[in-house]
């Protein structure tokens, strides 16, 4: 059992951004939720974080997630009530009593939202989630892969609108509703029995986020040292020579050519959608999703999201290994490069000097 204190929030925020792999809301958006979480923790006291072994297998865990573009929140501010509203709306259809809050997506803003809900409801948080990082689609969770239900699903927005969706193919419907709700919305999915969630999910992702936050806030260490301590490596340091983005299909796509600063006339290419998905050097894929890729500003050391990477920026590209659950053959197909439309196979994570 761990009591999450307000002074841990900054580390946690940095950690979830690292797990975001460039997506799930960048530093700026996460910072807003970090402020909300810190405020809640001060108001309602620390959140009890239960490790998987400590949780009651018979209890039910609620999961919450934001859908849409976190950047829109600058224009459309959250009220702070959306998650509770959504849970209430859901409970009108499904009277399962909720005994805990569990994670859905550990990477990006969605790594913080369940903790805010737990603080507000005074429920414990069980350290498990469905991704162990950030992914763009609702069905890209280990819960979903294990056949656990996502619907009925309640979706709300700050204006008070709410919808309860019960359908297969929730992805498309949820996104349609989200667009009509104004760019982003809060979702609460059908509560999962904790035993099922713990078996199917990725346990320990909050601890991992805290660990990464701890490591990456040690600015006295070199990037290589911090990457090594995180279990990954630094791919290269490079200057953005070209950025191309296009908005065809469901998610924005982009490709970035980084001119390596350590070698003459050599480039590293990053393929991105919501997240950084593939890194190639000279036509050879080096790191591929679901392994994580983070770009860190070479000067400030802060993570740079896919949306904010721009021409001329000098960044360190850091690769971190994926949660082991995704690498199982039956799971890989959901999240490997082909799932994102790239004609490439997953490359096993290996240390490239």
């Amino acid at each position: 059992m761990h009591l999450l204190q307000p002074d841990e929030v900054d580390r946690l925020a940095l950690g979830v951004v690292m797990l975001g792999s460039g997506g799930g809301g960048g530093e700026h958006e996460t910072h807003a939720f970090a402020a909300m979480l810190r405020h809640e923790l001060r108001q309602s006291g620390p959140v009890t974080v239960l490790s998987p072994e400590e949780a009651d297998p018979e209890g039910y865990g609620a999961r919450v997630g934001l859908i849409g573009a976190p950047t829109v929140m600058i224009e459309k501010l959250p009220s702070g009530q959306e998650a509770e509203e959504a849970l209430k709306a859901l409970q009108a259809h499904d009277s399962t009593s909720v005994t805990a809050v569990i994670g859905w997506e550990a990477g990006g803003c969605n790594g913080l939202l369940p903790l805010i809900l737990a603080a507000r409801l005074g429920l414990p948080y069980v350290d498990v989630d469905g991704m162990g990082r950030a992914f763009p689609r609702v069905d890209q969770t280990t819960y979903d892969a294990a056949g656990l239900p996502t619907t009925p699903l309640a979706i709300t927005e700050p204006g008070g609108n709410r919808a309860v969706l019960d359908t297969t193919g929730i992805e498309k419907l949820a996104r349609t509703v989200m667009v009509d709700f104004g760019g982003w919305a809060m979702m609460v999915a059908k509560p999962l029995k904790l035993a099922d969630a713990l078996e199917a999910g990725i346990p320990g992702s909050l601890s991992r986020a805290l660990e990464l936050g701890e490591i990456w806030s040690q600015y006295t260490l070199s990037v290589d040292e911090r990457a090594k301590a995180s279990g990954g490596f630094r791919l290269t340091r490079g200057k953005v020579a070209e950025v191309w983005r296009e908005s065809v299909g469901d998610f924005p796509r982009g490709t970035v050519a980084l001119r390596r600063l350590d070698t003459d006339d050599a480039y590293v290419r990053l393929e991105m959608q919501g997240e950084y998905l593939v890194a190639l050097a000279d036509g050879e894929p080096l790191v591929t999703t679901p392994d994580l890729l983070c770009c860190l500003d070479a000067e400030s050391g802060k993570p740079v999201s896919t949306e904010r990477l721009s021409f001329g920026a000098v960044v360190d590209v850091v690769a971190l290994p994926s949660p082991a659950q995704w690498l199982r053959p039956e799971m890989l197909g959901r999240v490997d490069p082909r799932a994102f439309g790239y004609d490439l196979d997953h490359v096993p994570f290996r240390d490239v000097p």
Partner: protein, 512 residues
């Protein structure tokens, strides 16, 4: 199987145009001289991986990462080139700097072409590489089809050849002048000396010359020269074969043009003959034909008849006519020139009656234009209207027949001469004159008769006759006195003077 000498390289494929008009090499120039053995279309990485050494890969995707991965696999599999197909419409991301830099480092040629269907690019490339004779046949087909549809003049033929074969063409005369199109740079001057199709290597590619028109002696007047940038032997042969076919079309054109020119000359000749025969009353259909021939019938016409002296029946062809036309127009004489059986009719037309001074100037210019040739010319008086053409030309012709030693004669000069020549030609008159002047024959070694003739020619002025005869004028006066006594006439009497003068001329003319 194709033997090595004929295999196409990546450069050949680019230069012979099978990749399309918009094809270009983006990167990897180092590898363009490698030979291509086969062509593959790759829609995904699996297809790229299936390629083997010597292949050329056409990639249907163009995402930067895909192109880079394909380049890497192409390099390790010894693939000869990667071709990107840019759709004519829709989104396309041209290869990025990083991709181009990578291709350059690998030395794998990266090409880009524009086509709606990559399959068509693959088909034409594969045919060119594997079955060059089929590619050549297709080109031949296309060229003949287009030749059949268009006018076979040099301009169209050149357009068709350069469009289908991606060559630069010129129709050239044997002296190396490009009649149509652009002569390839660095073309050796002796290329157009022979009489059979020739292929020669130039600094940039190969030039193929095929004869278009050969005369009976085997001399080639006109050549079709095609310049291709590719150096492939088989390709040069294809260009030669297709140029050969195009040259027949051009030969056809030459023949048709020549026939038309001849026909036009003949019809103008007969039109003029009809016009002359019509005299004063020109029927409307003749007027119409004359207008269609570009002749102006109103205004004042001054006719000129040019003919060889002595007559030479073999010199009336279009070449001579053309030369004469050029000579005349160079002297500012812009008129209608019509070739006839014995000479050329030529006339100038003025709005108003030309001044008397014109004929002297015209005579001088004509003399210049005819120069040292054997041609002589007669000039008619200006006559107005459509019938005037016939009249002035008739006068000109008359004058031309009477030129004698002169080059150009005006009909006005002809009146006196003619009278005198008639006198010289009338035997009775000559007999009379001889009898009249009998008393003076042989007297003082003919001096008396000569003095008399000069004295009368000089209008009975003693001093003028003395100057011409280089004697004192008293001598002239005494001789005339003696002659009067011998002949028994008085030169003060106008009748007697005229009779004596005429007799002098007649005798002199008959002596000559």
């Amino acid at each position: 199987m194709i033997d090595d000498a004929d295999s196409l390289t990546v450069r050949d494929l680019l230069e012979i145009g099978v990749l399309g008009d918009d094809a270009c090499l983006l990167a990897g120039e180092r590898g363009v001289d490698t030979e291509v053995a086969d062509v593959r279309l790759a829609a995904d990485m699996t297809a790229v991986e299936a390629c083997s050494a010597g292949d050329l890969v056409i990639l249907t995707g163009h995402q930067p990462y895909l192109v880079e991965v394909a380049l890497r696999r192409a390099y390790s599999a010894d693939v000869r080139a990667v071709v990107l197909v840019r759709p004519s419409a829709g989104s396309y991301q041209p290869p990025s700097t990083a991709t181009i830099s990578f291709a350059n480092r690998l030395g794998v040629p990266l090409l880009q072409t524009r086509a709606d269907d990559p399959l068509l690019v693959a088909d034409s490339l594969r045919t060119a590489v594997r079955r060059p004779e089929v590619a050549a046949a297709r080109l031949l087909n296309a060229v003949t089809a287009r030749l059949g549809r268009s006018k076979p003049d040099p301009r169209s033929v050149i357009t068709i050849l350069s469009g289908e074969l991606h060559v630069t063409c010129a129709v050239m005369s044997a002296d190396g002048t490009a009649i149509e199109g652009v002569s390839p740079p660095g073309l050796p001057p002796d290329l157009l000396v022979g009489s059979v199709a020739t292929t020669v290597e130039l600094p940039e590619g190969v030039a193929v010359a095929v004869p278009v028109e050969t005369d009976r002696t085997g001399h080639v007047h006109l050549w079709l020269v095609s310049h291709t940038r590719g150096r492939n032997k088989r390709w040069a042969e294809t260009v030669q074969q297709i140029s050969q076919v195009a040259s027949w079309a051009l030969g056809n054109w030459v023949a048709a043009e020549r026939l038309e020119t001849e026909r036009r000359a003949r019809s103008r000749g007969s039109l003029l003959a009809e016009l002359l025969a019509a005299g004063d009353d020109v029927p409307p259909h003749l007027v119409q034909q004359a207008v269609l021939a570009g002749w102006r019938l109103d205004g004042w016409h001054t006719g000129v008849y040019v003919m060889p002296n002595p007559p030479a029946p073999n010199c009336f062809d279009t070449a001579h006519t053309e030369r004469l036309r050029v000579e005349l127009s160079r002297r500012g004489l812009h008129g209608q020139l019509v070739e006839g059986a014995e000479g050329w009719s030529f006339w100038l037309t003025n709005d108003a009656e030309p001044p008397q001074s014109q004929h002297r100037e015209l005579t001088a210019r004509l003399a210049q234009a005819l120069g040292a040739s054997t041609l002589v010319a007669g000039v008619g008086r200006p006559h107005p209207g459509s019938s005037g053409v016939g009249r002035t030309l008739a006068e000109a012709r008359e004058a031309a027949a009477m030129t004698g030693a002169a080059k150009v004669v005006h009909i006005d000069e002809l009146g006196v001469r003619r009278l005198l020549s008639m006198a010289a030609e009338t035997p009775a008159l000559v007999e009379q004159a001889t009898r009249l002047l009998e008393p003076l024959t042989g007297v003082e070694d003919g001096q008396l008769l000569r003095t008399l003739a000069v004295y009368l020619d000089e209008e009975s002025v003693t001093s003028s006759a003395a100057v011409r005869l280089k004697v004192h004028r008293n001598t002239v006066a005494q001789r005339i006195n003696r002659a009067e006594q011998l002949l028994g006439v008085s030169l003060l009497n106008p009748d007697e003077r005229l009779a004596v003068h005429l007799a002098c001329r007649a005798v002199r003319a008959s002596d000559e």
